[in-house]
C-alpha cells in the first residue's frame, strides 16, 4: 500500500459519533413524534443558515480526521512509512502545508515582511525585502503585475463559485419540482417567495455567501499566501483550517465523554432518591465547588507530568498530541457534567411520580427497565439541548485554556495556539495582524453559527430551558467571565 492508515483515538471517537448521529437520524425519521421538533428546527431561518455554514466546517473537520502515514521510497524494496502523520485534508491542502516561507509575510504579499541583506547578481549587497519562495513567485515584476494578477485570480474564483452555486440551486429546484410535482420554474419561484416549508432561500443566500468567500480564496491560495505566513513561514490559512478540527473535537467529544456520567447518575439520583440521591448529590456538589479553570489546570498539569515522564508510550508526535487532546476533552467533560446531571435529576424526580411510571411499577417492570424505557426517552430533549448549547462555549474555552498553558499540545494547531503565538506580534512595528485576524474570523463564524443553530434547536425542543441552567452556563463563565 502506498500509505498506512493511522487511527488516532480522537479519530475513532469522531467517527463513532458520526455513526451514532446517522443511526439516530435514521431512527428519528421513522418516528413521527420525534421528527416533529426537528421539522421546527428545519423551518427556522437563522438555524438553517447557521447549519449551512456549519456543514462546511464539519466537512473540513471530518476530512482532517482521516489519518495516514505516507510510504517513503525505502531501500532494498522494503516499505518504510514516514514518521509524520498526515490527514486526507493535508493531502488536499498539500500546497498550503508544504510551501513554507522563511518568516512573516503579509497576506497576498510577494515579498518578506522583514528586510534582509541580499546578494546582488553583480556580487554586491543590498538591504531589501526579499522575494517570497512561493507567494507570487510566478510574477516577473511583482510591483507592477500583482494587483492585476490577484484580481484575475479572484475573479476566476468568483466565477467558479457562481457556477457551482447555480448548479446547486438548479439541482435543488429540480428535486423540489419532482417532489411536489410542479414545474422547475414554479419550484424556483416558490423558493424565492418563501413558500417552501424549509427556508431554502435563506440556505441558498448563505451558500452564496460562503462560496463567494471560498471560491476566490481557493483560487488565490494556489499562487499566494492568502492570509500571510507566521513566524516560521507557515501559511496562516492552513493553520486556521487545521484549527477547525481541534475546535470541533473539543466541542463534541467533551459532551460525548460527559453524557454517560450525567445521564446515568442524574436519572438514578432522581429515580431512586434516598441514599443514592444523597451520594450522587454529594459527588456533584463537591466536583462543582472546585472552580472549573483550576480543576482543569490541576488535572492537565498532572496529565502533562504523566506524559512527560513516559515518552515511550507514544510512537509519533501526533499520537502524543492526540492523546493529550483526548485527555483534555475528558477533563473538560468531568468538570462540566454536573450542571446537566442536576437538571436530569430534577426532571427524573418529576417523572417518577407520573402515572405511566406507576403503571409500569404495577406491572412489575424492573427498575433498570423503568429508567431506560420510560424515563430516559423523556429526558432526551434536555440532553440534546445541552449538547448543542455546550458546543460554542467549549470552542471558546479551548482558546482560553491554551492561552493559560493548560490547553492542547503546543505542537497541535488550534485557535488557542494561534492566538497565543500571535499576540506578542501586536507590539511589532508595523504590526503583524493577520494571524490574529484569521483566528478571530474563523472562530467568530464557527461559534456564531453554532450559537444560532443551538438557539434554533432549543426553541424547537423546549424554549423554557435557559442556557444558564445547563452546563453551558459554567463553560461560558469559564470563557467569558474568567477573562
Amino acid at each position: 500500500m502506498p500509505f498506512k492508515p493511522v487511527i488516532l483515538w480522537t479519530d475513532a471517537l469522531v467517527w463513532l459519533l458520526v455513526a451514532a448521529v446517522v443511526v439516530f437520524a435514521w431512527y428519528v425519521r421513522r418516528h413521527e413524534h420525534l421528527l416533529a421538533p426537528w421539522r421546527r428546527v428545519a423551518r427556522s431561518r437563522s438555524g438553517m443558515a447557521a447549519l449551512t455554514v456549519l456543514v462546511f466546517f464539519i466537512a473540513i473537520g471530518l476530512a482532517d480526521s482521516l489519518h495516514y502515514r505516507p510510504a517513503l521510497s525505502g531501500q532494498d524494496g522494503k516499505r518504510v512509512y514516514a514518521v509524520e502523520v498526515l490527514s486526507v485534508f493535508d493531502r488536499i491542502a498539500e500546497p498550503l502545508r508544504t510551501r513554507k516561507e522563511k518568516t512573516y509575510s503579509a497576506p497576498l504579499a510577494t515579498r518578506l515582511y522583514a528586510r534582509e541583506t541580499i546578494e546582488l547578481p553583480d556580487g554586491g549587497q543590498a538591504r531589501d525585502y526579499p522575494r517570497l519562495k512561493f507567494g507570487g513567485a510566478h510574477l516577473k515584476d511583482p510591483n507592477a503585475d500583482r494587483a492585476r494578477d490577484v484580481a484575475q485570480h479572484a475573479l476566476r474564483g468568483a466565477a467558479a463559485a457562481a457556477i457551482a452555486w447555480l448548479v446547486l440551486a438548479a439541482l435543488l429546484c429540480a428535486w423540489l419540482a419532482r417532489r411536489h410535482g410542479t414545474r422547475l420554474a414554479g419550484a424556483w419561484r416558490a423558493v424565492w417567495r418563501g413558500e417552501t416549508g424549509v427556508p431554502w432561500a435563506a440556505i441558498l443566500i448563505t451558500l452564496a455567501g460562503v462560496l463567494a468567500v471560498a471560491g476566490p480564496v481557493v483560487m488565490l491560495s494556489v499562487e499566494y499566501h492568502v492570509l500571510g505566513t507566521d513566524k516560521v513561514g507557515q501559511d496562516v490559512l492552513y493553520q486556521a483550517l487545521k484549527s477547525i478540527r481541534t475546535g470541533l473535537i473539543i466541542g463534541t467529544l467533551t459532551t460525548l465523554v460527559m453524557l454517560p456520567f450525567a445521564l446515568l447518575l442524574g436519572v438514578m439520583a432522581g429515580y431512586f432518591r434516598g441514599w443514592v440521591d444523597d451520594a450522587i448529590q454529594y459527588l456533584y456538589t463537591t466536583l462543582s465547588s472546585i472552580p472549573g479553570v483550576l480543576l482543569i489546570a490541576a488535572a492537565v498539569l498532572m496529565m502533562q507530568v504523566y506524559i512527560e515522564t513516559r515518552p515511550e508510550l507514544f510512537d509519533t508526535v501526533a499520537a502524543r498530541a492526540d492523546l493529550r487532546l483526548l485527555f483534555l476533552s475528558i477533563i473538560l467533560g468531568i468538570t462540566s457534567w454536573t450542571g446537566l446531571c442536576r437538571l436530569l435529576r430534577g426532571e427524573a424526580l418529576k417523572l417518577r411520580e407520573m402515572e405511566y411510571i406507576q403503571a409500569a411499577h404495577a406491572f412489575g417492570v424492573s427498575h433498570w427497565r423503568a429508567m431506560t424505557r420510560h424515563i430516559l426517552p423523556n429526558v432526551m430533549h434536555i440532553v440534546l439541548i445541552a449538547v448543542v448549547m455546550d458546543f460554542s462555549g467549549l470552542v471558546l474555552a479551548e482558546a482560553v485554556l491554551s492561552y493559560v498553558g493548560v490547553g492542547v499540545d503546543p505542537s497541535m494547531i488550534s485557535f488557542g495556539t494561534m492566538i497565543n503565538g500571535a499576540r506578542l506580534e501586536m507590539a511589532r512595528e508595523p504590526i503583524v495582524w493577520w494571524s490574529l485576524a484569521a483566528a478571530f474570523w474563523f472562530m467568530l463564524v464557527l461559534v456564531l453559527s453554532a450559537n444560532l443553530f443551538a438557539d434554533a434547536v432549543r426553541d424547537a425542543f423546549d424554549p423554557r430551558i435557559r442556557s444558564r441552567t445547563l452546563t453551558a452556563g459554567r463553560l461560558r463563565e469559564l470563557a467569558a467571565q474568567k477573562t
Binding site: V293, L301, M302, I419, M426, L436
Partner: protein
C-alpha cells in the same frame, strides 16, 4: 436564621473534605512525587540524588497516608496527606515549590485582584441591566431584534480578542492609558481603567441577553397588566414594577460570584501584568508549581461554597416567600 447558617456551614465540611481528597488523589496518587521532581528538575540532568534532595526540601519524602516509622499520632500526621492536605483546613498553605510562603503571597496579592474585579462586577451589573431594560422596553421591535443579534455576536467573540483589541486600540493606537503594569495607591487608577472597561464589555453579550429573558418573563406577569390597567406609563411600569421584581433573580444570581472577586481573573491579570491572584495562578501553572495550584484549588472551593451560602441567605432576605427549613 443563625441556626440555618450554622447548619449550612457544617454541611460545607464534608464537601471540603471531598475537594481535599480529589486534589490529593490528583496531585499525589496519579503521579508520584518522583515524577513531579523529574519534571521540575528537567528530564535530562536528573539523578536519584537530585530527586531525593528535591523531595526532602519540600517535604514530599514522607509516605502518603501512613507513616510506619513514626510513633503515636505521628503515624498519621507525619505524612504527605496530613502535611499538604489536612493543614489546608486551617488555611496553612505552607511553602510553594519555589520556597515562598503561599499564605503571605495570597494576602498581598488579593488586593490588586479585588481592585479590578470589584469595579468590573459593579459596573458590569449596572451596564447589563441597562442594556437588558433597553431591549425589554423596545421588545418585539427592530431595536430589540438587532440588540439580540449584537449580543449573540458579542458572546461569540473569544474574551481574548476583547483584551487584545482593547489593548491595541486604546493603549497603543490612541495612547490614552498604559498597556500594562500596576502601581499602588491612587496611581493604580490609570492602570485599572482599561482592564475594567474590557472586563465589562466582554460580558455584555451573554449577560444582557440573559437579563433580557428575565425581564421579558416578568413583563408578562399579572401585576404588570394590573399596573398598565391602572393607567401607569410604560416607563413607570418598567422602572417601578418590573425592575424591582426582576432584581430578585438578578441579584441572587450575582451574589454567588462575590467571594470569587478576591480570586481575580486569570487572563485579564496575565495580559495586563497585574500582580493579583489570577496572574499568581497562571505563573504557578506555567512554572508547574504544584503547591500553589493545590492551595488555589482549595481556596477557590471555599470561596465558592461561601458564595452558595450567601446566595441562599440573600434569597430569603429579598423574597419573603422563601423560608429556611
Amino acid at each position: 436564621m443563625t441556626a440555618y447558617i450554622i447548619r449550612r456551614l457544617l454541611n460545607a465540611i464534608p464537601i471540603l473534605i471531598g475537594v481535599n481528597v480529589i486534589t490529593f488523589v490528583l496531585f499525589f496518587v496519579v503521579n508520584s512525587p518522583d515524577d513531579m521532581a523529574r519534571v521540575q528538575l528537567g528530564v535530562k540532568r536528573v539523578t536519584p540524588e537530585a530527586i531525593a534532595k528535591w523531595k526532602q526540601e519540600r517535604g514530599y519524602d514522607r509516605p502518603l497516608l501512613f507513616n510506619g516509622r513514626s510513633s503515636g499520632v505521628g503515624r498519621l500526621t507525619d505524612t504527605i496527606f496530613f502535611d499538604k492536605s489536612v493543614k489546608l483546613f486551617a488555611f496553612e498553605f505552607g511553602r510553594s515549590d519555589q520556597g515562598r510562603d503561599i499564605g503571605y503571597d495570597i494576602r498581598t496579592r488579593m488586593w490588586p485582584s479585588l481592585a479590578i474585579a470589584l469595579p468590573v462586577f459593579l459596573m458590569g451589573l449596572a451596564t447589563y441591566i441597562a442594556f437588558a431594560l433597553l431591549m425589554a422596553f423596545f421588545r418585539a421591535t427592530y431595536i430589540d431584534f438587532w440588540d439580540v443579534v449584537l449580543s449573540v455576536a458579542m458572546m461569540s467573540v473569544s474574551g481574548l480578542f476583547y483584551i487584545i483589541g482593547g489593548q491595541y486600540l486604546i493603549g497603543k493606537l490612541w495612547s490614552m492609558v498604559p498597556i500594562s503594569g500596576y502601581d499602588g495607591g491612587l496611581d493604580s487608577i490609570k492602570f485599572l481603567i482599561l482592564p475594567v472597561l474590557i472586563g465589562v464589555i466582554s460580558g455584555v453579550g451573554s449577560n444582557a441577553r440573559w437579563y433580557r429573558i428575565i425581564f421579558l418573563e416578568e413583563i408578562n406577569r399579572d401585576y404588570v397588566r394590573t399596573a398598565r390597567a391602572k393607567g401607569l406609563s410604560e416607563l413607570r411600569v418598567l422602572f417601578r414594577h418590573v425592575l424591582q421584581n426582576a432584581m430578585i433573580p438578578i441579584l441572587t444570581g450575582a451574589v454567588v460570584v462575590i467571594p470569587f472577586l478576591f480570586m481575580g481573573s486569570l487572563i485579564t491579570e496575565a495580559f495586563f501584568g497585574i500582580p493579583g491572584l489570577g496572574s499568581y495562578t497562571i505563573d504557578a501553572i506555567n512554572s508547574q508549581d504544584f503547591a500553589v495550584v493545590r492551595a488555589m484549588v482549595f481556596l477557590g472551593s471555599v470561596l465558592y461554597i461561601i458564595g452558595l451560602i450567601l446566595t441562599d441567605i440573600s434569597y430569603t432576605l429579598v423574597d419573603p416567600r422563601v423560608r429556611f427549613e
